[in-house]
């Protein structure tokens, strides 16, 4: 199986099948990264398009493994931030959005029902502050700690600390659904 970087090189030489393969690899992951951070599906599709094009057009992708993915997510993240800024929707708006989705208190007899637990998780993730939300979404997209640190432009130690913080916040939020068994 060709690496992402080999496919990237082939796309730049006009090989559309290489693009199809790259698309298949990232359609779900990258879109899943973008979708919860943007207000609407069309926004997520636009940013997906822009991020893929910008990454393919860029000459910054080196030929070591992982560089395509790192570059793609870095560009995608910047595009998300730009779009939110340009619409005047920053972190506060996202937090507000998350707060609006507050889950009702779980019923006492079925607190660990998976559906509710997952909805609670979605709500908790939506309420995460921006730095923690970034690490959640990048990690969910399958990036390694090193790749995440590169995308976010922070030292590895800071990243690990944010990961711990993020897990603690989510754990606290999900406690009502997980402790009473």
């Amino acid at each position: 199986m060709d690496s992402d970087e080999a496919l990237y090189a082939r796309v730049k030489h006009g090989d559309i099948r290489a693009f199809d393969e790259l698309y298949a690899r990232y359609a779900t992951r990258l879109f899943g990264f973008l979708r919860p951070q943007l207000p609407g599906r069309p926004d997520a599709e636009d940013v997906f398009h822009e991020a893929m094009m910008a990454t393919l057009e860029s000459d910054e992708v080196a030929f070591d493994r992982g560089s395509f993915r790192t570059w793609l997510y870095r560009i995608a993240r910047n595009l998300v931030l730009n779009r939110l800024r340009s619409r005047g929707r920053g972190e506060h708006a996202l937090l507000k959005l998350g707060a609006a989705d507050d889950e009702p208190a779980p019923p006492a007899d079925d607190r660990v029902a998976h559906g509710q637990l997952l909805r609670a998780l979605d709500g908790a993730v939506a309420r995460l502050p921006s730095p923690l939300s970034d690490v959640y979404h990048l990690r969910s997209s399958g990036l390694s700690y090193e790749e995440m640190a590169t995308v976010l432009g922070i030292p590895l130690g800071t990243l690990k600390s944010r990961m711990n913080q993020m897990v603690n916040v989510l754990r606290e939020e999900l406690k009502p659904w997980t402790t009473a068994r």
Binding site: Y23, F48, L56, V112, L121, T178
Partner: protein, 143 residues
């Protein structure tokens, strides 16, 4: 650490690999013996890894995929100009670069001699000397 509630609060830490080795081993041991916790963990993992949401994998619409594919096709379609540009910008190995530089240096050093050999200068003939100091005497016809 057999208590399901304790294990379940650690599932997130386990998934994101923020727990220590002991906690990790305890969670794994518990998951192997507790179907309920295992199901909960798999449900959380599927949601976090975005394997599925509401029973389906989310990705851009078919129209968005075709739009992107078309844009990529137009942008990277090979044309003679792009082929030439790529050829000029292709990475050249060091030894090839050095060899090319040596050839250019040798050519530059020998170029004048070679040019002289190929196009020898014509031998200059002694030009007839014309004394311009005196006006040319024209033959006079004396009647």
């Amino acid at each position: 650490m057999d208590d399901c509630s304790l294990i379940q609060t650690d599932l997130l830490g386990y998934h994101f690999a923020t727990v220590g080795d002991d906690e990790r081993a305890a969670v794994e041991a518990h998951l192997l013996g507790c179907t309920a916790c295992l199901r909960t963990y798999l449900a959380l993992k599927a949601r976090i890894d975005r394997d599925e949401r509401d029973g389906q994998r989310e990705q851009p619409s078919e129209a968005a995929r075709l739009r992107l594919r078309g844009a990529v096709e137009v942008r990277f379609r090979p044309t003679p100009a792009r082929r030439l540009s790529r050829w000029l910008r292709r990475p050249v190995p060091l030894y090839q670069g050095l060899a090319a530089a040596a050839v250019v240096a040798v050519a530059a050093a020998f170029a004048p001699a070679l040019a002289r050999a190929l196009h020898p200068e014509p031998v200059a003939h002694a030009a007839e000397r014309v004394d311009t100091a005196r006006p040319e005497t024209k033959s006079l016809t004396i009647y």
